[in-house]
Subunit: 255 residues, 3 copies
């Protein structure tokens, strides 16, 4: 028997928004430590990983491990029926074929219960090796989203180059070329740690889908190392994260 | 000769918004007591009835009964040309083939006059029998609109069940099931009078079109009785109303 | 070598918005006095003219005359990448095949550079004779935009009639007729100078495209004279303007 309660639905809405463009369906692995999810995106190029520790929840009970196969489109529709400040309780019996979501308004005069059918999804457990990144950048999540959007105007490929001087995003195509440079700020909005300068090329449209997670966090963490997938991490308060991984393009890593 | 003046165009805009999805054309029956309109919706399933007493108007003159056949799409276009706080005067001569709408801005430096052609519409006068409803519920109009929208996510049919415990809306389909319960609140936002519990099934998409009237009123009144059309009533200040009627579905009135 | 710097990108965005519906491409003629542009609209009916004096710029350098052929769609895309309050510097070398736009955020921690390819456009220099207008009207730009939009609901043709009593816009079609009258206001929002009353008919859709310039100016100036193109002028602060010219329709100048 699984039961988890959140005092507010807002973050749950944002988590599902961050996943639903990249995944149609998803299996949440619930255990007594919390909820985990890992999956390749629909086109099997990038990888997304979700972690929500049980401390994140107002109430959390999970007697035995359970996997909840969810259709993210349906889940989105149910979450649209809730106010952001409704409390939400998620319940599933052992071996159940459905999950129940109950929303309560602040004054409790209104309760809304929804049942969603569970899906039987093939699970591939993916090992994500811990990586030492040569460059680690923290920057405002909205700034990263804006840069990804602006780069997409110019080219399908984005070169991210990082050195002690700062982080530079470049794109070049038919219309012209774009270069955006950020340097470390004294106010601490942008922080840059560099062991070794790196310049790598990535497919811009995956970067853009990652930025659907922007409302989740003030800051995004970017990790870069040669020949290793880019890490884009959005913390979920202090209790978890969504991490996206994207392998660099092999051809034009000029920058 | 007919002439009626409103100090503000806003409510008129909202009335037409409430009607125009359900009706393409409409005949307003103007008499010395006010304006009445009754019609079946375009698909001849539900019924809508409008009443505006002459006290609703700043000025009202109607020497002899006159019927104004209006194309609601055209009327909407004309109303879009007006600011909500413009004063509006509606005029028609006896046996006229057009109606005149004049809008005046507050300072009167701007006047805008529009003429609309009148239509010759067949009139069917529908007798709506007075009904005693077993259950009468008053609830916030925005809450009713939200519930109708949320139910539509799950099924074409909505079961409305009312008892002393409260009013419950249910829908169930491919994706899953939804139940929303409201109980009477001490703050008086939801009030429920029940002589006899009732559970009836309705076509959700008609309920949704009724909620186009939401901006007209704080509260909506819902009347339920077995084998009798549902009443959904939006008062127009103290001077009239829009009422919608919808027969229950005969098949699945389980709830 | 050409270099011009603006403290804010906002007005530049608005200028390009004002031009891009009427022109696909445009040649800016830069000289030591400022920037000029003249062109027929895409369908060769109306004419648009832009003037930005060098005093408009924070910094302005132009050693020798240079013509910059720009694709306005691409320029719009680049400007979308900038914040309204970024400073912008536009640079082109003599005989260059590209122009460079550099945006700097207030704190200068972020710089974004864009290169746009220049186009080789045929230039037709159009002589616009100075005209004495019988009627000159100044009115709020938003009011003019609203009237053009409202008139379009009724007809493709708009009659503008101006006399000492005021300015009247009329349109009449299938659906009905519209008349909007403005009189001179004591507050000075509408001012009307009339030597001789004029009534002329114009194609409404050109008037509507002119109103894309509305965000540029509080007031629009309208100049009318018989058998002469209508003038619609939006000042750009005190340092320039966008002017649109549209010949009257020859057929129905009744009004």
């Amino acid at each position: 028997m699984f039961e988890a309660r959140l005092a507010s639905t807002l973050t749950l809405k944002r988590i599902v928004d961050a996943l639903r463009e990249i995944l149609n369906q998803s299996t949440l692995d619930c255990s007594d430590t919390g909820i985990q999810m890992q999956a390749m995106d629909n086109s099997h190029v990038s990888l997304v990983s979700l972690c929500l520790r049980k401390e994140y929840f107002e109430k959390y009970k999970c007697n035995r491990n359970i996997s909840l196969g969810l259709d993210l489109k349906s889940l989105t529709k149910v979450l649209k029926c809730a106010n952001g400040d409704d409390a939400v309780t998620i319940k599933a019996a052992d071996k159940a074929d459905k999950v129940e979501l109950s929303f309560e308004s602040a004054g409790k005069e209104r309760t809304a219960d929804y049942e969603l059918r569970l899906l039987n999804l093939d699970q591939e457990h993916l090992a994500i090796p811990e990586t030492e990144y040569n460059c680690v950048v923290h920057m405002p999540a909205t700034e990263f989203a804006r840069i990804c959007r602006d780069m997409a105007t110019f080219s399908e490929s984005v070169v991210i180059a990082c050195s002690k001087e700062g982080i530079k995003f470049s794109a070049s195509g038919e219309m012209g070329a774009a270069n955006i440079k950020l340097s470390e700020t004294t106010k601490g909005e942008v922080s840059i740690q560099v062991d070794e300068p790196v310049a790598l090329s990535f497919a811009g449209r995956y970067l853009s889908t990652f930025t659907r997670a922007t409302p989740l966090a003030e800051k995004v963490k970017i990790g870069l190392a040669p020949d290793v997938p880019l890490l884009v991490e959005y913390p979920i308060e202090d209790y978890g994260y969504i991490r996206y991984y994207l392998a660099p393009k092999v051809d034009d890593p000029d920058g």
